[in-house]
């Protein structure tokens, strides 16, 4: 223990000795607050005398301050004067902490300011100004949209209707529609839940199920609404959907409405799909209640490619995803008897979880349907918004669908003829300049991709529109040039689409090949 006598001799000793001295000696009772002052003083080189005088003075102060509390004993412990200082300081700290921090006062807008803001606000016009290219008028047909139709009094070859089996104008269809119209009138006047279910709807659903050998089917009243009602029914927030980047707007809208996480893979590229699925499965912990879907089209409307269903099914079984397939352009077209992509690839249809299709293509009627196992279809009858909150399909269109399926069943030669026509058209368009055939050789949508894009989609679309207009005016041919809405997020290349029908004649196909070759060489080079 260092005593006072020792340290006196070492008056220039380090502050530590000094501090030790202070705290070890109980007689002075000097606290930490004094320590700082003392250290500071001691650091200045002082005379021994001065130090001694100072210490004597300090001793005196301590005695004086100790005097009042010299006799205070609380709980058997003698209270020293530094306690009072500490308690006072403690109070000050508590008061400062409990003060509210300074916040600038909230001043809500006054009535007058709100009125001024409302007067000043200028909204955008409802629509942007109309440009010239927006005023383009489509051709107006004056007869049925079959393989030959009438526009402006002239006979025109029609490659713009998805009438793949030539059922437009078929007498059996017209007969069944006429009898349905006479019995039921035109509309069904109600949604399916409120007396809008007519027996033809139930018959149509049974007929489709029988045709595709699936347990159950549900009918929708509009082709486009089929997909954007089915997808939000099964996919909710938090689920994962892997979709092809080339799907059409109906599917994109359904994906957006479902609010799930959407990952796109490269158009019809199975390697890209495989790597995307790998990434998803390694990234996310395998939550038991997380639903995973793959969305694809059988024959893509935007490019005419056919999805390789056997590979998709292999991937789906490996990674435990469910498949939602849109068979609008393949129902009645692909497969030996027209039963769609599953028959085409030899895959049992039970492996596809949800199959949807619009009937406005091969079946030459309107509306759509969805097929799958009984539980899935049952669920849609109460949760699918396009089914519950909308009027049902007009009964004559449902009876047209039944008749169309009967015709397909009884006339398989229609499919053979259509396939022959596609092959002929491919032969004719093989060496067209400036465009290349980008669709699958077996798909009924023959897509001619524009080879040298000018860089801006708008310019390309205008050029294609000019080409289609000239085809109509000069050669009396109706072809489809790609159209894009600004809401459509698909970025596939644009081009000319030809929809081949079993009702076309060989001369029609030759004519369209010649005409397109001529126009392509004139306009695109």
């Amino acid at each position: 223990k260092i005593t006072r006598e020792n340290s006196k001799a070492k008056s220039f000793a380090s502050p530590l000795l000094w501090a030790n001295d202070i705290f070890c000696s109980k007689s002075t009772g000097i606290s930490w607050n004094s320590l700082a002052a003392l250290c500071w003083i001691h650091r200045a080189k002082m005379d021994t005398n001065l130090v001694e005088m100072f210490r004597a003075g300090l001793n005196w102060v301590t005695m004086a301050l100790d005097a009042p509390s010299a006799r205070v004993v609380l709980f058997g412990v003698r209270i020293q004067w530094h306690i009072f200082v500490e308690v006072l300081l403690g109070f000050v700290i508590v008061i400062l902490l409990s003060q509210k921090s300074y916040k600038p006062p909230k001043r809500p807008l006054t009535e007058q300011e709100i009125d001024e803001l409302c007067d000043e606000w200028v909204p955008e016009p409802l629509i942007p100004p109309i440009t010239e290219d927006m005023r383009h008028e489509p051709p107006v047909l004056e007869s049925a949209a079959g393989p030959h139709t009438t526009v402006n009094g002239k006979d025109v070859v029609n490659f713009a209707s998805a009438n793949y089996l030539g059922l437009i104008g078929h007498e059996k269809l017209l007969e069944s529609c006429t009898s349905a119209l006479e019995k039921y009138g035109v509309g069904s006047c109600g949604p399916r839940g409120f007396y809008g279910t007519i027996d033809v709807h139930l018959d149509c659903e049974t007929r489709i199920s029988k045709f595709l050998s699936t347990p159950d089917t549900i009918l929708y009243s509009y082709g486009l609404s089929t997909m954007f009602s089915t997808i939000p029914c099964f996919c909710k927030k938090g689920d994962i959907i892997v979709a092809d980047e080339g799907v059409h707007w109906g599917i994109q809208n359904g994906l957006q409405l479902s609010r799930s996480t959407i990952v796109y893979f490269k158009h019809n590229d199975m390697d890209s799909l495989r790597s995307t699925l790998e990434k998803i499965m390694t990234k996310n912990k395998r939550s038991k209640n997380l639903r995973r879907y793959i969305v694809a089209e059988a024959v893509y409307q935007n490019s005419g490619q056919i999805a390789p269903l056997d590979e998709i099914v292999k991937l789906k079984e490996k990674y435990k995803f469910r498949v939602i397939l849109d068979e609008s352009n393949s129902f009645g077209v692909l497969g030996r008897s027209g039963r769609g992509l599953a028959e085409h690839h030899g895959v049992p249809i039970e492996k596809i979880d949800v199959v949807t299709a619009a009937m406005g293509h091969a079946l030459a009627t309107e509306g759509g349907f969805c097929t799958g196992n009984a539980r899935i279809i049952d669920y849609q009858r109460l949760s699918s918004s396009g089914y519950v909150f909308s009027a049902s399909l007009p009964p004559y269109l449902a009876s047209a669908a039944i008749t169309a399926i009967d015709v397909i069943d009884q006339n398989p030669e229609l499919l053979v003829k259509m396939k022959q026509h596609i092959a002929l058209l491919w032969k004719g368009l093989k060496d067209i300049k400036g465009m290349s055939l980008a669709s699958d050789p077996e798909s009924p949508i023959v897509f001619l991709k524009l080879e040298n894009s000018s860089g801006s989609t708008k310019e390309d679309l205008l050029l294609l529109e000019k080409m289609a207009d000239r085809a109509l005016k000069e050669d009396s041919l109706l072809v489809v040039s790609s159209k894009k809405s600004f809401l459509d997020k698909c970025r596939l290349p644009v081009g000319i689409k030809l929809l081949v029908s079993a009702g076309h004649s060989e001369s029609d196909l030759v004519k369209v090949s010649e005409s397109l070759k001529r126009l392509a060489s004139e306009l695109l080079l």
Partner: protein, 479 residues
């Protein structure tokens, strides 16, 4: 404003609680039962979790025979309702179909013209409107609709629901504001969600609250950034299908003009059904059609066909034709349906050479007012304004929903009952839709049957008049 008697509210809550408890008990025992059987999911996630469709499995399935009843004839005033699991059908009075002007079945003027156009044009064009789907009938239809509604131009799509879903995203996007009535239809809600704009709701049919919301929103600007809104669209309906109320259009239009917001009017139920010449709520309330920026409607209800339209200025329609996905990608409306609409409009306007149209309009107005007055005299709680052909009768209690429906069917009257989730939980109702093809005898028979069923189920909440009704004591108000 619906006032529900105190005792009824308590008993309704109790009923739902009981049903809920029973449902949970059954679910629990099912889970115990399934413990022993194997799961057939094989590693896939279940499509639907137990709590997501609890309501459907345990409450709806008990009474599902009241919904989705199949019919085997045209949805006219008298309809053949099929008995399930048999091929028998019973002829019932149809109070459920939206057949306001009686065009839902064979019509002597319209149907021959429709059959002609079917033979000429086929049921479908298999093509979208911009490719090869526009026929001369479609062009005529759009002109006809525009003239009828009172706007310069119109565009027609094949389904009313898809019209809303496809048009609203084209008109407004991120940075815009949609203010919609709290009881708007699902198609409007879906279209608004799909557009990406911010959505705010104002109290049902209350122009004062709309003004407050508008002022607040314009002053605040976009959320978080407080930039001014790009544009504001206020969406209202002509007749609200679950309330039967007519929208207070003159006040709403004046407020929107003052604050420079655009008005979108959905006349799904009101076009063809109200107004002196059937031109909808604008004609009835005396609003100039030039003040309403976008008028939308469907053809399913009053014209006996299918499809929807949007009417507006020529520039607006041209812009929509260029960008609307339903116009560019979807198959065009079926040509015979289009012809039906044209013929129906001609009949309504009297251009077919007879005065059947005027007769139909007068008859539906008479029928609606007579039926509503009689029901109120009997003591039922009937919602809706005068002249509106939609009248909901309040049921409240979940047990009364199937009781009323089955009792009426036993007496050969087909009614529609609606419960949760189409209506709020406590406010289940039966909805009557009057048609111009109902005769006075039909209505009297319906009144007798409904009165009898009402006595049995105890839904005559108000005292039977002859004197003016007084409010029942101890009521709690519910919106």
């Amino acid at each position: 404003m619906i006032t529900i008697p105190y005792l009824t509210a308590v008993s309704t809550y109790f009923s739902y609680g009981l049903l809920f408890a029973f449902g949970q008990l059954r679910d629990y025992s099912r889970r115990i039962f399934d413990w022993w059987s194997t799961n057939n999911l094989h590693g896939y996630a279940p499509i639907c979790l137990a709590h997501e469709d609890f309501y459907i499995r345990r409450l709806y399935h008990r009474i599902q025979d009241c919904f989705g009843r199949p019919i085997s004839s045209a949805p006219d005033a008298w309809v053949d309702v099929v008995e399930r699991r048999t091929t028998k059908s019973t002829r019932c009075l149809n109070l459920g179909s939206y057949n306001y002007l009686g065009f839902g079945s064979y019509d002597e003027y319209c149907t021959p013209l429709v059959i002609d156009s079917l033979k000429k044009f086929s049921p479908s064009t298999c093509s979208s409107r911009v490719d090869a789907g526009t026929t001369s009938v479609h062009a005529e239809l759009e002109e006809c609709v525009a003239k009828y509604v009172g706007k310069p131009a119109a565009i027609v799509t094949g389904m009313g629901y898809a019209t809303n879903s496809a048009i609203i995203p084209v008109l407004i996007g991120k940075g815009g504001l949609i203010i919609s009535d709290s009881l708007n239809h699902t198609s409007i809600v879906n279209g608004a969600r799909g557009s990406g704009a911010t959505i705010r709701v104002f109290q049902h049919n209350t122009p004062a609250h709309l003004e407050r919301v508008l002022k607040e929103q314009i002053a605040e600007g976009q959320p978080r950034t407080h930039r001014p809104w790009k544009k504001i669209i206020v969406v209202v309906e002509g007749i609200y299908s679950m309330e039967g109320e007519i929208c207070q259009l003159p006040e709403i239009v004046s407020i929107c003009k003052k604050y420079k917001a655009y008005v979108y009017l959905d006349e799904a139920h009101s076009i063809g059904a109200i107004g002196k010449t059937g031109r909808g709520v604008c004609e009835l309330l005396g609003v100039d059609t030039a003040d309403v920026d976008i008028m939308m409607g469907t053809f399913t209800k009053s014209f006996g066909s299918c499809g929807g339209y949007i009417a507006g200025s020529k520039d607006l329609i041209q812009y929509l034709k260029y960008h609307c996905p339903a116009h560019l990608y979807a198959t065009s409306i079926s040509t015979p349906s289009a012809q039906q609409i044209i013929s129906a409009i001609k009949v309504i306007l009297g251009e077919d050479g007879s005065n059947r149209g005027a007769q139909k309009l007068a008859r539906i107005r008479e029928n609606s007012n007579f039926f509503r007055a009689e029901l109120q005299k009997m003591g039922f709680e009937v919602l809706g304004d005068n002249d509106s052909p939609v009248m909901p009768i309040m049921l409240y209690n979940p047990a009364k929903i199937p009781a009323f429906s089955r009792e009426c069917l036993r007496e050969n009257v087909a009614v529609v009952v609606v419960g949760f989730p189409a209506t709020p939980l406590l406010l289940a109702r039966a909805r009557i839709c009057i048609s111009a093809s109902h005769s006075r005898e039909d209505l009297i028979k319906a009144l007798q049957v409904i009165s009898k069923a009402g006595d049995l189920t105890g839904i005559k909440y108000f005292p039977a008049a002859p004197k003016k009704q007084e409010e029942v004591k101890d009521t709690i108000k519910l919106d």
